[in-house]
Subunit: 212 residues, 2 copies
DNA sequence: CTCGGCTTGTTATTTTTTTCACAATATTGT
DNA sequence: ACAATATTGTGAAAAAAATAACAAGCCGAG
């Protein structure tokens, strides 16, 4: 395998997840070897883009043949850092948080929620979807003990910034934020925002433009 | 106001939502006029980027002064197509779908869910979060009647493609898809995917890289 | 009214990302 | 063994996007 190249496009990283999903699908269909075309067929990504993306990390295929599905899956997982189970904390067990607790899409990608927190005294101690809900006041204790560095934030928008700050102080370095607010955090903490309204606006904008 | 320029970067469109959110916040704080710096202070976007983005659509500010918050809000809403209420259908009232039905972040941006559908006979006819759940078999009828062209898809991954296809046939032109699958649809139908696992993978990748 | 401090809008430049073109390698059939 | 075909991997070119540089306009003080 060749050495890592210095600069890897942001977009390449984002697409690796897509490739992983596609590969898992091919594996389910008992396909052992697949070409770049097979892998990208149902993604909105060209096969050249795919090969270029992979080339930043090395050569994983065999010319004239394609890619070993299982092998490439493992390689991409290794690149993404999801080759071992990732332990994740969920903070905010409201309606959305509850739904996320029982989201079935995580295990397949080695993502595992291992702790759930809420501020509501009525919820604390209760079991929800198999998780015992802890008080937010125990954030530090549990996160340190479990060595968690990734969190899902699904608290109300009013408390999002405060809780996010608290998470950062406890050593959390990556936050998936569902609150519609741009979190201000030390720059060594990574944030990814899931903003439903914004996504819809984007769609509506495209819709509108397509009619002009 | 100058005429529209031909090509508008994808990214510009995406950022307009952010600006809108920031403007609404400033308005709440009784700020009538704001500079590009004020508006982008809490976004990860430079003030130059902001002005550049707006310049694709016209000049909305006053040199030496800044932007009228209310006015600019309206202008961006007009650009995005959310200046009037958008009627949206939600398909799939499982745990996630239910959470979305009561999501409070939509009205502020003129987004309104007006119909909810599910395939489960036990749910049909029931009221959930104020919505009467309709059978998916009535999709066409209701969507035509209400003139809906935007839908949120939160059905299980197995049925996502089928239901999406059905939506497209009913005249839906934009789908916000929560199922972890890349939908194949006529190319005049816009799809935006919300993929929680993928977002987490992206974060974990950054985390990993930052340590090297 | 004019100067100096601000802030916008825009053209030019640089950087980043995608696409193209093609060499290199494997496989299959004859 | 060799031609025909399939497919990867990668430098070079093109396209897209971000940043820099700066002209132009507004405001308030004197």
């Amino acid at each position: 395998m060749r050495p890592l190249k210095r600069y890897i496009p942001q977009e390449t990283a984002r697409r690796l997840s897509l490739y992983l999903r596609s590969l898992k699908m091919l594996d389910q269909k008992k396909k052992a070897v697949a070409s770049s075309g097979d892998i990208t067929r149902f993604l909105n990504v060209s096969s050249v883009q795919f090969r270029k993306d992979l080339s930043y990390f090395g050569g994983f295929g065999k010319r004239g043949v394609g890619y070993e599905v299982r092998l490439l899956t493992k390689e991409i997982e290794k690149i993404l850092g999801t080759d071992a189970v990732r332990r994740i904390a969920l903070v905010g067990v409201g309606k959305l948080g509850s739904a996320l607790l029982s989201y079935t899409g995580f295990p397949e990608f080695n993502l595992q929620i291992v702790a759930a927190f809420d501020a509501d005294p009525d919820k604390i101690g209760k079991i929800k979807r198999g998780f015992k809900i802890e008080s937010i006041s125990r954030l530090r204790e549990v996160i340190k003990k479990e060595g968690i560095e990734t969190a899902i934030l699904s608290v109300p928008v009013e408390s999002a910034q405060k809780v996010a700050h608290e998470l950062a102080k406890c050593g959390v370095r990556a936050i998936l934020n569902f609150a519609p607010v741009n979190l201000t955090l030390p720059k060594d903490v990574f944030v990814s925002n899931v903003d439903m309204a914004s996504e819809l606006e984007g769609l509506i904008y495209k819709l509108k433009r397509s009619k002009v």
